[in-house]
């Protein structure tokens, strides 16, 4: 020991160390610094580490604390336990120093007059990979690495520099500074104490440096889950505790270290960021992130008084103003950037983990950290530009995208036994009304806003679902390609153009449903979620029930997808596993049917016109042909060439995918083929009343084949290198070109700001009709191509539907799901059939007896929308009626005014059956409560325990488990 050298005491805090401890101790033992002592503080190990220490560092002091405590509190023991030290070297027990590290740190501390100096931290197993070289943080205290974890160390970061903070693996701290600042904040039991201490040191005027010449290997055992977190006072339970601790300590540091005026400016931003994180977390299923963000505030608010004291202490030591400290902070918001990618990966909780993921080499394409932010930003810009007009003025009421009415109207329609549709019937209300009402209530009792959000929001929701379903593929490129390709499909834009809300909902739900089915099968890389099977079925059922409430055809289509998965598994001999998916689909369908009770009962009751709910087909010549369907276009025309181009990328895994890539490629293509064939057969009317909206089928096909394209990306990364140069490379190039062309083609949809949807609705052109827009006590008859009628319609003839709406403008949302039995409205069909067959020239009279004043025959789906050829026989027969007066209003709709209209002989509307409906409502509420409670409770019980991934080679699997 050289007494000339300033004494340095290495304070090693340990708790239940693993096998790595010996390496760490040898690192200290090998130091060439001449005046180094070692103090080992055992913060509550179950096994006394003293013998292990003594074997390697016989001169070390071991201090065992009588009760477990966090790192900060344990390290602070040095303040009282050590006298005369010039520096403390605060060390974790999973850090192994290079032999010259301490000497270099001390030299730099003197050379730069630094208060805190940190080394370059490299990976434990591969020291050529950098973990951290100092850190920055944004204004909210969210750490921002200055070097990308996993980056190859080529001495590119080897200059000494000031940093905002040095991570806590190894930190050389001037002892007087440590004492002056009262050490670490002992309230921060784990995580974040390094940021907080360095921040306070900066405020106090001390320099914080990184000296990369000094190097240490860091295992990050706690962060990576190799060492379970201790059950300490103040540490919350649950697998998200790490994220919770980080969030609360980051916020505490910010609240403590900012001056008063700076805090006034920053505080609203912090609140906004947290709200955004909570909202995104809730709506993306990342409840842990949402909960962590919210609980950070409650935890800190509960400590308000203590926090104020800490603030006063910090202020009393302030030597630098905030704006100087801020110079070392990162600009912008790391949290908002993380929302785009990091949040969904739980990046904040797994930053070191992600570093390891990159080190493992399993997740190819992780070497461009800005990709996710860039891709998601572009996606967001695309969605915002394409939706700009629609967000401003709301979607026009086209076909099934009808207005919500008032909040009271929504709930009133749901709780009433009498549907106002048709000629008024006693029929259970569809659950979609309740869901829409709840969303409206959540959004500030604003049904208009809710409608806009629920229509436009289907696009990002679908994109997010595509991203999520690609998570287990363990490829960032694949994950990022997923939303891009899915959004490039022509389907959602056609759905907006034609006003097909059911298709939009199917687009939003399809990738989520596909992911659940994949998880149910459990074929790699989709692991089965922990917990009992019924929980998976119930999850699927809940999603199917919600989506099926808006688009009932989704439920049988999910069964078709299950069949497709089984068929596609035959070549790989894994049909048995896929049978689990099919079983899950069946069980989910049953659950969805139960959750939609009693509305669902009516759908399968004898005599019900199921096609009224599933949707009527237009005339065969007006349906999409094979070419359009293969291009994911549910109607003739459109931009199906975009879909054709995308197919080039979707087919890639079939050509050179290996192992599970090929297996899933075959399965997903089988799903696509099943959906296409059924869509085409259904469009031709060969399935009778079981008319499947082609949009719903194409949504599932699109989701499946988008996933196939993502798997193609993985195959490109992993499998293509195993082949010699040849046709496979050509196919991969063609796939890339196809996807590129498809994506470029899809950009055109964003041009008009409405995704091609009409900007006006029929109310605007019919407002000149007497009494149309005022509730004048009469009904209106819409007849013609079902795609142009407001809401759903009953079948008059093949390709011709009719719908009766109550005067007072276009009907509300409830018209999307009329009672399957037309009831008294059948009389309308009878009258129209008489007119079409020439057996009456006075059809106005029977229509008048039903209270119908106007007959509308749309020639487009909305003013300015795509054209619909009205049925010529119908138009001719209506034109022949002596008591129907044609009224020229607008080319988009033929209007006939009933000259015999009167109200004298209207049939009485059915009276509400209040008691019966009340019982039904109670039962519905009970069912939903049971379902949600079951999912929530079992999620807690069977949540996968934290710990190292069983397959570290594919770490993204863990993220996929969130599916």
């Amino acid at each position: 020991m050289d007494p000339q050298a300033p004494p340095v005491v290495a304070v090693v805090v340990t708790a239940d160390p693993g096998a790595w401890l010996e390496d760490a101790l040898r690192g200290l033992a090998d130091q060439d610094y001449p005046n180094l002592s070692v103090l080992m503080i055992d913060a509550g190990s179950t096994v006394d580490p003293t013998p292990r220490v003594a074997e390697i560092l016989p001169g070390a002091y071991v201090r065992r604390l009588d009760r477990p405590c966090g790192y900060a509190a344990a390290a602070n023991e040095a303040i009282t336990a050590v006298e005369g030290a010039a520096f403390f070297l605060m060390c974790h027990d999973d850090v192994c120093l290079d032999p010259d590290a301490v000497r270099l740190l001390v030299e730099e501390a003197f050379r730069s007059n630094a208060g805190v100096v940190g080394p370059k931290l490299v990976a434990w197993e591969d020291p050529s990979r950098i973990l951290q070289v100092g850190m920055s943080a944004d204004k909210g205290g969210i750490p921002v690495p200055l070097a990308q974890p996993g980056e190859l160390d080529q001495e590119q970061h080897d200059s000494v520099r000031d940093v905002f903070f040095v991570p806590g693996g190894v930190t050389l701290i001037r002892a007087d500074l440590f004492r002056a600042l009262d050490g670490f904040d002992s309230e921060m039991v784990l995580f974040g104490e390094d940021l907080d201490f360095c921040w306070r040191a900066q405020v106090a005027g001390a320099r914080v440096l990184v000296a990369p010449a000094a190097r240490a290997r860091h295992l990050a055992a706690s962060s990576s889950g190799m060492r379970p977190l201790q059950e300490l006072p103040g540490v919350p339970p649950g697998p998200a505790r790490q994220l919770v601790l980080r969030r609360r300590h980051e916020l505490r540091a910010a609240l403590k270290c900012y001056g008063r005026w700076r805090l006034l400016r920053v505080l609203p931003q912090l609140i906004a960021h947290s709200v955004a994180e909570v909202v995104v977390g809730v709506f993306t299923g990342h409840r842990d992130a949402a909960r962590a963000s919210a609980s950070a505030w409650t935890w800190n608010l509960r400590r308000g008084q203590e926090l104020r004291g800490r603030r006063r202490e910090t202020a009393s030591r302030r030597a630098l103003p905030d704006h100087e400290v801020r110079l070392l902070q990162a600009t912008g918001s790391a949290r908002l950037a993380g929302l785009a990618e990091g949040l969904f990966l739980r990046a904040s909780a797994h930053v070191p983990h992600r570093g390891q993921e990159a080190l493992s080499g399993a997740a190819v394409g992780e070497d461009r950290p800005w990709w996710p932010a860039a891709v998601w930003s572009l996606v967001a810009v695309f969605l915002l530009i394409g939706s700009r007009t629609m967000l401003n003025s709301g979607p026009a009421q086209v076909a099934t995208t009808l207005g919500f009415g008032s909040l009271g109207h929504l709930f009133g329609a749901f709780t009433s036994s009498v549907t106002p549709l048709g000629l008024g019937q006693v029929s259970p209300a569809p659950p979609a009304l309740a869901i829409s009402g709840v969303v409206s209530a959540v959004l500030g009792a604003s049904p208009g806003l809710a409608r806009t959000v629920m229509v436009v929001g289907c696009l990002p929701l679908g994109a997010l679902g595509a991203y999520r379903v690609a998570l287990p593929l363990a490829s960032r490129r694949a994950r990022l390609v997923a939303p891009v390709i899915y959004l490039a499909l022509p389907l959602p834009y056609a759905a907006l153009t034609w006003g097909r809300w059911g298709d939009l909902v199917a687009f939003a739900a399809a990738p989520w449903l596909l992911g659940l089915l994949a998880r149910a099968g459990g074929l790699p890389p989709y692991d089965s979620a922990p917990g009992p099977a019924w929980r998976r079925y119930l999850s699927l059922g809940v999603v199917m029930a919600i989506a099926g409430a808006f688009s009932p055809a989704i439920v049988p289509v999910v069964l078709l997808v299950g069949i497709g998965l089984v068929v596609g598994s035959v070549p790989t001999g894994q049909a048995g596993a896929s049978l689990r998916s099919l079983g899950a689909a069946g069980a989910g369908a049953v659950a969805a049917w139960l959750l939609a009770f009693p509305w669902s009962v009516v759908l399968v009751s004898p005599g019900a016109a199921v096609e009224a709910v599933l949707g009527l087909n237009p005339a065969t010549s007006r349906t999409a042909g094979v070419g359009a369907l293969l291009g994911f276009e549910p109607a003739p025309g459109g931009t199906h060439w975009v879909g054709w181009a995308l197919l080039a990328g979707m087919v890639v895994p079939l050509f050179f995918g290996r192992e599970w890539r090929f297996g899933w490629g075959a399965r997903l293509w089988a799903v696509g083929l099943v959906c296409w064939v059924v869509a085409w057969v259904s469009a031709r009317g060969w399935l009778g009343g079981w008319t499947f909206s082609p949009g719903v089928l194409l949504a599932l096909a699109g989701a499946a084949l988008t996933l196939s394209a993502c798997i193609g990306v993985v195959a490109f990364e992993r499998d293509l290198v195993g082949y010699g140069f040849g046709w496979r490379q050509v196919i991969s190039v063609l796939g890339v070109i196809g996807v590129g062309l498809g994506v470029l083609g899809a950009l055109g949809h964003a041009g008009g700001g409405r995704w091609g949807a009409p900007s006006a609705d029929f109310d605007q052109v019919l407002s000149s009709l007497p009494g149309h827009t005022a509730a004048s006590g009469f009904d209106e008859l819409w007849v013609g191509d079902p795609r142009g009628l407001p809401g759903a319609s009953y079948e008059l003839a093949p390709g011709v539907g009719y719908a009766i709406t109550t005067g007072g403008g276009l009907p509300s949302l409830a018209s999307d799901w009329p009672p399957p039995d037309p009831g008294p409205a059948r009389a309308v069909a009878g009258a129209l059939e008489l007119a079409e067959s020439g057996r009456t020239g006075l059809v106005g009279r029977p229509l008048a007896s039903l209270g119908i004043r106007y007959v509308f025959v749309p020639t487009t789906d909305a003013p300015g929308g795509p054209s619909l050829a009205p049925p010529p026989l119908l138009v001719q027969s209506l034109g022949d009626q002596l008591d129907l007066r044609p009224v020229a209003v607008d080319p988009s709709v033929l209007v006939f005014q009933n000259a015999d209209w009167h109200r004298s002989d209207l049939p009485p509307r059915p009276a509400p059956a209040g008691a019966e409906r009340a019982a039904q409502l109670s039962f519905e509420t009970l069912l939903w409560a049971l379902a949600v409670l079951s999912l929530v409770l079992t999620r807690r019980i069977w949540r996968r325990p934290p710990g190292p991934s069983p397959e570290p080679a594919e770490p993204a699997d863990a993220a996929g488990a969130e599916l």
Partner: protein, 469 residues
């Protein structure tokens, strides 16, 4: 796992879909409405409306109108006749009740007094038919009423020669106003006089246009009525007070041109002039073949071309290929464009029948025809001509509405019409009944024409019956 079967399966399914789509995707759309038949009796109707052509309804009128109502069903029919005038007078209605298998005649002047009138007939049930009969010093004419309106009406012939009066009547019994444009075609070519554009026909109104006031002294003129907005029923009243060529005719317009026309009757005889008027309102020239099926042999067909928008008259009189007193039926087929075909007959001494007549041809045959108006008496001679344009001989039953039943006429319970041939039946040989409504029922589709000849006075009427469905 093998890659080849999967790729093969996917390729085969995609190829099969492509082939199936190519073969089937251009499938049926909405069913197109059938030919625009405007004179059809609906036996199963819950109500049926008829729109009857123009007539005069003043004392001394040249074409005093009567509505002939017939009930060809087994139930009593009630209904209403409403007569509309061309002047400001409000329409007037009369209710009626028709026993099964019966007919009635309602004079229009007693209902409403106006220079010109038209009428609607509403039957509350099926099987009812209505025809418009006019009579005056220039003779008599019968034409079916229309069972539906149309957006276009075509008339293949008319004349505004000195002594002739051509009246176009635009009848709008519907609840909305109508605007119509008129255009003409004469030997000088097509024209659309400005004064005939945008003719306003109010709801419940009748507008009559004396074409001769504007298109002066034209021997042969075809007309088109296009309804710009609203709905109309158009008819043409021709009054000829020309020396040796007097008569009157009332024709309901043709709602659409067609490629095939049938005329069951024609004859070249001394004093009788028979002409075909071919009007091509389409935008392309029509190549026309006129086939005459003589009762005693076959005449060489006429081949001609009718330019787009023009009218051509084929004077069958004096054609050497047609023997005298050898009646014939006519089938006219057009390729390229489509036609409207009318036949005019002018009979003068030494013919025992005198007068003029005009009638539209039939575009399609039917199994049952009803001729509501007519009569076989000492003052009127009624003939029924039945033409079978098909390839199978027709077995025909000819009956009449006897009030409570429709017995077959004596000797006409079962008669045969040869395939492609015709049969002319003189009603007076089978029954003597002044108010005679005849039903022709056939085993195969045929075309039936009714000809009325006034005995001892001027007057010829030729017209098709009304189809019964």
């Amino acid at each position: 796992m093998s890659r080849r079967p999967v790729l093969t399966f996917v390729s085969v399914v995609l190829a099969a879909m492509a082939v199936a789509g190519w073969r089937l995707d251009s499938g049926a759309g909405y069913p197109a409405p059938g030919p625009a038949a405007v004179t059809t009796v609906q036996t199963s109707a819950v109500d049926q409306e008829w729109y009857c052509s123009v007539a005069t309804a003043v004392s001394g009128g040249q074409a005093a109108g009567e509505i002939v109502l017939a009930n060809s069903g087994g139930s009593t029919l009630t209904g209403t006749v409403t007569v509309y005038g061309n002047q400001a007078a409000a329409p007037a209605s009369r209710a009626f009740s028709l026993p099964p298998w019966s007919r009635a005649v309602l004079g229009e002047q007693p209902v409403l007094n106006a220079p010109f009138v038209a009428a609607t007939v509403v039957f509350h049930g099926g099987g009812g038919a209505a025809e418009q009969e006019i009579s005056g010093p220039l003779g008599v004419s019968v034409t079916p009423c229309a069972s539906r309106p149309s957006a276009t009406w075509y008339f293949a012939t008319g004349t505004t020669r000195p002594g002739a009066s051509l009246v176009l009547a635009l009848f709008n019994p519907f609840p909305e106003n109508a605007l119509a444009d008129l255009s003409f075609s004469d030997p000088q070519g097509p024209s659309a006089p400005a004064e005939f554009q945008g003719i306003f026909v109010p709801s419940g109104g009748l507008v009559t246009i004396d074409v001769g006031q504007h298109v002066v002294q034209v021997d042969d003129i075809a007309a088109t009525v296009r309804v710009r907005t609203g709905r109309l029923v158009a008819s043409e009243l021709q009054l000829d007070a020309i020396p040796n060529q007097s008569g009157l005719s009332l024709v309901l317009g043709a709602p659409a041109p067609a490629g095939t026309w049938f005329l069951p009757d024609g004859v070249e005889a001394t004093g009788v002039s028979d002409s075909l008027h071919l009007y091509n309102p389409s935008s392309t020239a029509a190549r026309v073949s006129i086939d005459l099926n003589l009762a005693r042999g076959q005449a060489a067909p006429f081949q001609l071309s009718v330019a787009a928008g023009s009218e051509t008259a084929v004077d069958l009189a004096g054609q050497t290929r047609i023997p005298l007193d050898d009646p014939y039926d006519i089938a006219i087929r057009a390729r390229g464009g489509s036609l409207v075909v009318e036949r005019t007959v002018t009979a003068v001494a030494p013919s025992t029948r005198t007068g003029t007549a005009a009638m539209l041809g039939a575009t399609a045959p039917a199994r049952t025809w009803l001729m509501a108006a007519g009569g076989a008496s000492s003052s009127q001679d009624e003939w029924i001509d039945i033409f079978d344009p098909g390839r199978r001989a027709a077995t025909v039953r000819v009956s009449y509405l006897a009030g409570g039943s429709d017995p077959a006429l004596t000797g006409l319970r079962t008669v045969t019409v040869p395939a492609g041939g015709r049969l002319a039946l003189r009603m007076g040989d089978h029954i003597q009944l002044a108010d005679l409504s005849v039903l022709v029922s056939s085993s195969v589709p045929v075309v039936a024409e009714r000809d009325l000849y006034q005995v001892g006075s001027i007057g010829i009427s030729t017209s098709l019956g009304e189809k019964v469905s």
